[in-house]
Symmetry: C2
Subunit: 436 residues, 2 copies
């Protein structure tokens, strides 16, 4: 392997021979001296080549260099305070064009988001885009480390199913040999299955699919779902406690590793949230936003996006907190598998988690008593026979349990104060977007 | 949350009050005393209840207990060497049946694998099944930790695609709004996309889908693929070096955490492999197995499963090693994107990794020069126009790069000397298996 030095490590080296590899950011091809700014995944550095009087292969190569080409350069590193880009430069000795670029770059700095998505592999060369996925890596690894240290088992549940896992409205159908299969809309049923299986505590990070025809800034037809499920809970309160510990572990790791970079690139100071996060029953939250002058324009008992922004603003003012758990949603707007209150079947042991004004997660205690589960399904107009394979999970013994599902790209979007999930998804998928 | 103690932690406690939760393994309902063996995700413990003369609610509850029911028990822990099961027992004070089981258990200890898959949530209660997924958790976390420590970026590439990523023969088709989409057969194209995007080094653990109609012990229509891809390599040798370091890190973590349990449950001593792993060019491997008396019955240049077993046996004898890289496969049996030798276009910079006689992974240096890539595609009878979105990745500059894909369940199967991938997959998917 080329013994290249990552550009971010150059400044710590003494003057002397180095090799660097990356892509050409800019070329200044002057009469007496040529400058190239080279970029890699870690940073950018200025390369310099004084032209000589004689035949000069390096000069010819630099003159022909298209922006975006990938090159390996050997040369002499020199510290020089006058160099604006980090106080170092590399005097080129050899330049090897490993992958030449077409000189016509299809996107520019001011291209719109849709055009940038067409050329996502070029768009991702922006240092801020690269940073987003390094943050994602740190965040996920901190979450998984929290779970592994707490004896959770990691699952990979199947994405091919014989029937719907959530509403039938947003289901993708797959040609499956001589029959049909469906893409999992969530790992809900299969992560619950781990509870009667005696796994105790589980987590999964994997894709989920929704045939949602909407074109908003926060919906996708395929997204990465972060899921956990735990046995032997008394209520959703136990789930929320694990959920907030998890977020604290993740945000602390992100702040430690990327806090300064995030401030520089996005102007955002990462806050490690304090625990417990504020908890507000939904009915009370609706009273609070009404007092602030906003009446949620819905006929059911649910919140709406503006209501979520309003309650988040209230929580920020009242508790200086970026997160809030809205709890005890009405049974009428929750799935049949959310456990209902023992003393009020109209309410569920459930919550939504709001972060910086947007919902990032739904959690709940699940109904584990098969007779109650069947009644709840019927009350939702569902046919228990169609759910038989799922109901079986609870017929041979099951512990009390609960968990949550959380959208990875949404968390990143809101953490970095970005306005579109497309920026925090490697390759976005929507109703009209399957390429690249 | 119930302040339950995991059963494996009981032995370290002093005699006194405890709460345990789990499922009923067996009940011995005797005249003077009742015994229950309770199991949780960490182990099993004996519960005891001496019947009293008077009305005895606990005795009645125990007599009615169906095997498999989930219960929470409070009582007095007592160390007693005479108790065969770990030298402890818990004298029951209260017993709460949280999830009662149907007394007719549909599978037995001697049920066949297909029957067990029908009732996978019960099958997974076996301690060895639980152990498999704790090993999986440890293995994956060690791999990801290796990557994160080495500055890899974690990707989640889309599983919905506009076209095939590998051969069109084994492709699942999805109804996608008014058109069609296809399920990713591998993250190949999209993990390569990270290279011109300047990500440097990436990894992904996620599902892959193959419409493979075969019914073998090591194929599935959906499997968890472990993938990595790195920039700036000189050849596939750089990929193999990373690959073997990764496996060493994973196996060391598994041996440290589960070595004794694996020996007890599966009779297998985990070996942390030495590096470098043996490397044998495929042509030489075929000569070696021929010398051992086995002629590979194929008309192309490939190995077959028996040949892989034979070369593994040779490597075990000659080098006392469980792994072998077979290298330099013929271009005729490799995809168009595998780089060909500079001095012999008939061979590729590629490898298969064999573990305990079975292929677990394919790796290669990729062709990053778009003109060569187009020629290679044509020579395979592919239409470059259909590959245009992929070829674009290399038109605006790309580094040299390579990587591998590896089947998670196969690694686990071979590590534990099991004979069927169904045992090491949470929920197996095959041509006739979509349930549960």
């Amino acid at each position: 392997m080329t013994k290249r030095t990552l550009i971010k490590h150059l400044a710590a080296l003494d003057d002397g021979a180095v090799a660097v590899s990356g892509w050409v950011d800019t070329v200044r091809d002057q009469k007496k001296v040529q400058f190239v700014v080279l970029r890699d995944e870690s940073g950018a550095v200025q390369l310099v080549h004084p032209r000589s009087e004689e035949a000069d292969e390096v000069a010819t190569a630099i003159s022909a260099l298209a922006q975006g080409s990938f090159v390996t350069v050997t040369g002499e590193l020199k510290h020089d305070e006058r160099v604006k880009l980090g106080g170092i430069e590399v005097k080129i000795e050899t330049l090897d064009v490993v992958g030449a670029a077409d000189p016509e770059t299809p996107i520019a700095a001011d291209s719109g988001v849709d055009k940038r998505m067409d050329w996502r592999f070029l768009d991702l060369r922006r240092p801020e885009a690269n940073l987003i996925f390094r943050i994602q890596t740190t965040l996920e690894h901190a979450w998984r480390s929290y779970w592994v240290e707490n004896d959770f088992i990691e699952l990979h549940t199947p994405k091919l199913m014989a029937s719907a896992s959530e509403s039938k409205a947003e289901l993708f159908e797959v040609e499956y040999f001589d029959g049909k299969a469906y893409l999992a809309q969530s790992p809900q049923f299969f992560k619950q299955m781990a509870q009667p299986a005696g796994f105790g505590k589980i987590f999964e990070v994997g894709p989920a699919f929704r045939a949602d025809p909407s074109f908003t800034s926060r919906h996708a037809t395929e997204f990465t779902s972060v899921d956990a499920e735990i046995s032997w809970i008394d209520s959703h309160e136990d789930v929320m406690r694990m959920h907030e510990e998890l977020l604290v572990a993740g945000f602390r790791a992100v702040k430690d590793k990327h806090g300064a970079e995030i401030e520089a690139a996005f102007g955002v100071e990462v806050t490690v949230p304090s625990t417990p996060f504020p908890r507000i029953p939904l009915a009370e939250a609706k009273r609070i936003v009404a007092e602030r002058g906003y009446e949620v324009p819905r006929h059911d008992d649910d919140m709406d996006p503006e209501g979520e922004r309003q309650i988040a603003a209230y929580v920020k003012e009242a508790f200086d907190h970026e997160f809030v758990f809205l709890t005890d949603y009405a049974s009428s707007i929750r799935p049949f598998y959310h456990m209902r209150h023992a003393d009020d079947a109209g309410l569920t042991n459930s919550y939504d988690l709001i972060f910086n004004g947007v919902e990032i997660s739904t959690g709940a205690q699940r109904e584990h008593r098969v007779d109650v589960l069947i009644e709840n399904a019927k009350s939702k107009g569902l046919d228990p026979e169609e759910l038989d394979f799922y109901l079986d999970f609870f017929r041979y013994g099951a512990p009390s349990h609960g968990g949550f599902g959380m959208g990875l790209s949404r968390v990143l979007m809101l953490l970095l104060h970005l306005s579109n999930i497309r920026e925090t998804t490697y390759l976005f998928r929507g109703p009209t977007r399957l390429l690249p």
